[in-house]
């Protein structure tokens, strides 16, 4: 068990709360920097995907986990970012400018989607975003002059100022830098008034309002930032996958994104990345083990959906706080080690209350 003696207020504000944090996150950074030399090409590509989805996850986490607004149409923002990147880099824009422009465009779309969010809640918001997702996907497939329509659009490698990220490793570093910056920005936001306003809105709109929080502004802001991050993720995704087609940004993608943050653990920044590891890793894990299963099961079509669904069900049943929640428990157990008390983590009975009145 670690006891912290606080001596000034800055200590509560700091990102790394104690030496342990500095050490472990430093180690993680080192490992990430060394990854291209440590991992096989295949694993590095997976890691790149994880970083990309992690960035998108950060955005959705901000929206769903911290502001309490659930979007079932996030693939739309993801797609806007991806197509914007494809189009702008197609015009020869350098990567950073295209990325920022794409993020801005996504954010603008996010504001438009956020508008209904001001009036509707819960399931209504979910369906509103879902509807928006459908409409945006339709635009992707109909606006052929820009998106290439259903024929799809190819995207080149990352290029900026005479440098081209043409190897897997160099693109990995691009993603790493973006992911780290995005994470820091989110952490900063969450420890400042805006982040607190988001959480306040999540927990009680009426008292947030009476504390002077402009609900409309902060909800739209949350949508905008979330969409911008999704757009940035989408831009990276465009470079990674190099071929965009409208069906990559459909409802299934949206649900995948939502599942990602839920499984990662709503309301934690770690959760975004843990969720991404899960989302990218699980299908690979399934295909890795399926050869060892009996033919009738291992080779049957539909296996992936079953495992995917079952893991999801398992998570909700046994670890509603997601991967991050599980990690916290493991850590608490290790820290307390000889003094672990039975029932420490026993789930309390809890009772559902109507969320229609919030």
């Amino acid at each position: 068990m670690r006891f912290l003696f606080k001596t000034d207020y800055g200590q509560d504000i700091r990102l790394a709360k104690h030496g342990g944090h500095v050490f472990w996150y430093g180690l993680l950074c080192l490992w990430l920097l060394a990854a291209p030399w440590l991992l096989s090409e295949y694993l590095l590509a997976q890691l790149t995907f994880i970083l990309i989805y992690g960035v998108v996850g950060l955005g959705l986490m901000l929206l769903a986990g911290f502001t309490g607004l659930f979007s079932i149409g996030h693939a739309a923002f993801f797609g806007v970012g991806a197509y914007a990147q494809a189009v702008l880099t197609g015009y020869g824009w350098p990567f950073p400018f295209a990325l920022l422009a794409g993020a801005a465009l996504s954010a603008a779309v996010g504001v438009v989607v956020g508008l209904p969010a001001l009036r509707v809640k819960g399931i209504y918001l979910g369906i509103a975003t879902l509807s928006f997702g459908f409409i945006v996907a339709e635009v992707f497939s109909r606006w052929e002059s820009v998106t290439g329509g259903n024929a799809g659009k190819t995207v080149g490698a990352v290029k900026m100022f005479g440098w081209t990220a043409d190897s897997a490793a160099s693109f990995y570093f691009v993603c790493l830098v973006v992911a780290v910056l995005a994470t820091l920005a989110c952490l900063n936001l969450l420890r400042s008034p805006t982040g607190r306003a988001f959480v306040a809105i999540r927990d009680s709109e009426i008292s947030a309002q009476s504390m002077g929080i402009h609900l409309a502004r902060y909800k739209t802001l949350s949508f905008a930032i979330s969409a911008a991050l999704a757009g940035i993720g989408g831009a990276l995704y465009a470079h990674q996958i190099r071929f965009l087609s409208p069906d990559q940004f459909d409802i299934v993608q949206s649900i995948d994104l939502l599942l990602m943050v839920v499984i990662g653990g709503l309301g934690s920044i770690h959760g975004a990345f843990l969720g991404a590891i899960f989302l990218i890793g699980l299908p690979q894990a399934i295909s890795a083990v399926k050869d060892y299963l009996p033919q009738a099961i291992g080779q049957a079509p539909g296996l992936k959906a079953v495992v995917y669904g079952a893991v999801l069900v398992g998570f909700v049943l046994f670890e509603p706080l997601g991967l991050y929640g599980r990690w916290l428990k493991v850590r608490a157990y290790l820290q307390l080690f000889p003094f672990y008390r039975k029932g420490l983590f026993r789930r309390q009975k809890s009772f559902q209350k109507s969320e229609r009145l919030r």
């Binding site: 509103a128 459908f134 099961i297 049943l317 109507s354």
Partner: protein
């Protein structure tokens, strides 16, 4: 004439959406969760009926009964196994759970060798019959849907408005803790709600089967029923039907009179407009927390 025909097919299609939306609203009213598995339950119901008719060789009406009863039982078992353990968690957890259940159901059906990946027809006695009146045509399949939707809606409405159990379900969904304090058997009612929802899903699946065929992905039509439920106001049973009709009509007319592509997004545009004008749908209660 043309217009009338479009209206008629729109109404028929709208009833299909309404029928599925009834299932959503039912689960929502009774448990305050949105079941993303409703479409898959429908699919299972259709397969159940198919099995009863082709494997067991039962006659149609018996198969329908068997499928509805079987699915109701299935719903109860499902609730006991996977939903009850997290009863009381925020509704959102259960929503996630239903997504997972949907995946598993779809996957498991797909895994059935020789059946899951195929498309099947349900040999209903009224197949391919058409009702023709003065140049307007309506398939009997669709008329059956319309009739069943109306009957189910009235039945469910009565249950929730007048029966003790129906009111208790709503009570439990609004404030579970208080429901326990009142001695309402929350868990049992929850099981009942899922049983009921699965039964309704089975009815929908069987009625839809002649129109959409029976296959593992037939549940996706549920995505169109969400807008229907929302337009009507998510907590309202008659609203589900009206919402379904609105969506069906809009689709039908937009498909004919508007440029390509509008038919597919029309329901979603309607939803957005609706939520903008009436955030709680046509029949939804105007809700506001009193502080």
């Amino acid at each position: 004439m043309q217009f009338l025909q479009l209206v008629i097919t729109g109404v028929a299609q709208g009833c299909i959406y309404g029928l599925i939306a009834l299932g959503f609203v039912l689960v929502y009213k009774a448990t305050e969760t949105v079941s993303f598995a409703q479409g898959e339950l429908m699919m299972l119901g259709a397969f159940f009926g198919l099995a009863a008719m082709t494997l067991l060789g039962l006659p149609f009406w018996l198969s329908v009964l068997a499928a509805v009863a079987g699915m109701a039982l299935f719903g109860i078992v499902l609730e006991a196994l996977v939903i009850r353990p997290i009863l009381g968690q925020p509704a959102f957890s259960i929503v996630m759970l239903t997504i997972g259940i949907g995946y598993v159901a779809r996957g498991l059906v797909t895994m059935l060798p020789g059946i899951g990946t195929e498309t099947h027809t349900l040999p209903v006695p009224y197949k391919d019959q058409v009702w023709n009146a003065g140049g307007l045509v309506l398939a009997v399949e669709q008329m059956v849907v319309i009739a069943a939707t109306a009957v189910l809606c009235v039945l469910l409405f009565a249950v929730f408005r007048y029966s003790k159990v129906g009111i208790a379900m709503q009570a439990a969904s609004q404030n579970q803790l208080a429901a326990y304090y009142m001695g309402i058997p929350v868990k049992r009612l929850n099981g009942l709600a899922w049983g009921l929802a699965s039964g309704v899903a089975a009815v929908a699946g069987l009625l839809l089967a002649p129109i959409t065929f029976v296959h593992a992905n037939m549940g996706f039509i549920g995505l169109k029923a969400f807008p229907a439920a929302v337009v009507g106001g998510f907590g309202s049973l008659p609203g589900a039907i009206v919402g379904g009709l609105v969506i069906g009509l809009v689709e039908s007319l937009a498909g004919f009179y508007l440029p390509e592509g509008f038919k597919d997004v029309a329901p979603y545009v309607v939803v957005l407009v609706m939520l903008w004008v009436m955030p709680n749908g046509l029949f939804g209660e105007k809700l506001r927390k009193k502080v």
